[in-house]
């Protein structure tokens, strides 16, 4: 930084030489203030999304910088929400980026008193084994009159109202294929 530039940036110099003799405006502006810009403007990408809370379906814009979500705000193009969000929708960035979010698979063994960490692949394998075992143990081929049942009442599932249609589709498809019928979600509650 040359002396002249350095001086130009020094508030008192600017105050004495500029249009702001009281040093309350232009002259007082710091280097940081001078270079401030909205982080939505400098984001690498913006995804067009929808609020995950209630069912109104407010449009969201999710701004990403260096692989991280840096801002979530209303999508002004949406005819539903016109860019607005309620307090929950406005807290979506916290929801996604919170350090309280669980990021590891946890396991509580039978009669255990604490959580243990578990490898994701191992967990998947264990769960698949348990579903198949529960199904084998409780399988019903036919009712007392010989009519087909093809099912298990040994497995239950609850959830789906916060999930995507594509996800619910696969959930129902898979559970139906394994004969599990006790599949429910918030719509029953």
């Amino acid at each position: 930084m040359g002396v002249r530039t350095w001086l130009d940036h020094w508030p008192v110099y600017r105050q004495l030489t500029g249009t702001d003799p009281l040093g309350r405006g232009e002259a007082a502006k710091s280097e940081r203030s001078r270079s401030l810009t909205a982080r939505t403007e400098t984001a690498d990408s913006m995804a067009r999304s929808v609020c995950p809370y209630c069912a109104v379906g407010c449009g969201q814009r999710i701004f990403v910088k260096d692989g991280k979500v840096v801002q979530i705000e209303g999508d002004p193009d949406s005819p539903i929400s016109k860019g607005r969000l309620c307090p929950k929708g406005s807290a979506s960035k916290s929801l996604v980026t919170s350090d309280r979010r669980q990021q590891k698979v946890l396991y509580r063994r039978p009669y255990g008193t604490r959580w243990e960490e578990l490898d994701l692949d191992t967990a998947m394998s264990m769960i698949a084994d348990r579903v198949l075992a529960a199904r084998d143990e409780t399988w019903e081929d036919a009712d007392e009159d010989g009519r087909p049942l093809n099912r298990t009442l040994g497995i239950s599932s609850l959830g789906g109202a916060t999930l995507d249609n594509e996800e619910n589709y696969l959930i129902k498809k898979l559970f139906t294929a394994v004969g599990a019928i006790q599949i429910e979600n918030q719509a029953r509650i």
């Binding site: 110099y13 004495l16 249009t19 702001d20 405006g25 502006k29 705000e73 607005r84 406005s90």
Partner: protein
């Protein structure tokens, strides 16, 4: 040297602060008649400006658990439960509880209990408990209005002994007023507080040294310090956003357009129109607050449409910039200060060389 207008009376503050070809002055118009108290403004502000939470305390002031504007809450939604006279909202419909087996209101009592609840916000002065809640209790049945510095103590309409038949629930999103004559800015010795080209008042976090002079200088009790870093913080009117032509986070989120952002001149005419319309609809109690360039702070950059007297919302009825008399003082101090500054320039320049 600044003219007499610089510290009092109507003024366009950005040109006054040295901005040549300043853009139009920007501000907020908060229309409390459509506020639903959702607090989206509080959250959107915090998400954008990375403001810390202000603690998890149930305050009992209706649905307000923020307590007030602090260094950690730059928007604050006040809730006022009010057993009102008349039928409210300008209609001829029966009151909310007309015909119900009701007794006297509890609002005054609950307000006093709430006034005894402090909010540990991690800031100073933060939201202290009312200094003497019992004294406030003594005023419940006294007629008249007395400003206690926060919503929910002795307020108009809260003195009903008769069975309550009508009721209002007022909500207002409060914010820094971005005064035309900003006491905080005028007393700031470090230049941390400055006037932007949009006429708003912003604390520069890279300059503020936590001296705290600004705090008593605010006629609204807005500016506040964080205890952990000592610096003063308040609404910047999203200086980073508006510089890029974006709407401040709170106004962008507001579901009902209670918070409107725009050119102040336009907002003032919009507000006048809205007021007129409400009066036509029979909402006689509607009034503007902070819109008048001739008031004690030269008009606010963030002004309001209220449905009751300002004190009801915890707003001072007649704020006056604390630095109104500053020019006289400066005339005496100025020469010495400038001389000192010049000396510093010379010594710094010499050292760099």
């Amino acid at each position: 040297m600044a003219g007499p207008n610089s510290f009092y009376g109507p003024l366009d503050p950005a040109p006054d602060a040295g901005y040549v070809d300043a853009p139009p002055r920007m501000g907020f118009f908060t229309d409390t008649s459509v506020c639903i108290g959702c607090k989206a403004c509080e959250v959107a502000c915090k998400e954008w400006n990375l403001v810390p939470d202000d603690g998890f305390n149930l305050l009992g002031t209706s649905y307000d658990n923020t307590g007030g504007l602090t260094a950690n809450s730059w928007r604050h939604v006040a809730f006022i439960e009010q057993p009102a006279a008349g039928s409210g909202h300008g209609t001829d419909t029966p009151g909310a509880f007309a015909g119900m087996p009701t007794g006297p209101s509890a609002s005054a009592h609950t307000a006093v209990v709430a006034a005894g609840t402090s909010q540990d916000t991690g800031t100073d002065p933060g939201v202290p408990a009312a200094p003497d809640a019992l004294a406030a209790a003594a005023t419940i049945t006294a007629p008249g209005t007395q400003f206690l510095g926060m919503p929910g103590a002795d307020l108009p309409g809260r003195t009903m002994d008769a069975p309550r038949s009508d009721f209002r629930w007022l909500m207002m999103s409060n914010v820094c007023k971005h005064c035309t004559h900003a006491g905080c800015l005028d007393v700031c010795p470090t230049g941390a507080l400055f006037r932007t080209e949009f006429g708003t008042v912003v604390v520069q976090e890279d300059i503020c040294n936590g001296c705290g002079y600004c705090i008593p200088a605010c006629p609204y009790g807005v500016i506040d310090q964080r205890k952990d870093d000592g610096r003063a913080w308040k609404c910047t009117l999203c200086y980073d956003r508006i510089g890029d032509g974006l709407t401040p986070a709170c106004a962008k989120a507001c579901p009902t357009e209670s918070i409107q952002y725009g050119e102040l001149d336009e907002l003032r005419s919009r507000a006048a129109h809205r007021l007129e319309k409400l009066h036509e609809q029979g909402v006689a109690e509607a009034r503007l607050y902070g819109h008048d360039p001739n008031d004690g702070v030269g008009g606010d950059g963030a002004f309001f449409l209220l449905l009751d007297e300002p004190e009801v919302y915890g707003l001072p009825p007649d704020p006056v910039v604390t630095t109104r008399d500053l020019p006289d003082m400066w005339k005496r101090a100025g020469v010495a200060a400038l001389a000192m500054a010049a000396t510093i320039v010379v010594s710094f320049a010499g050292r760099r060389r």
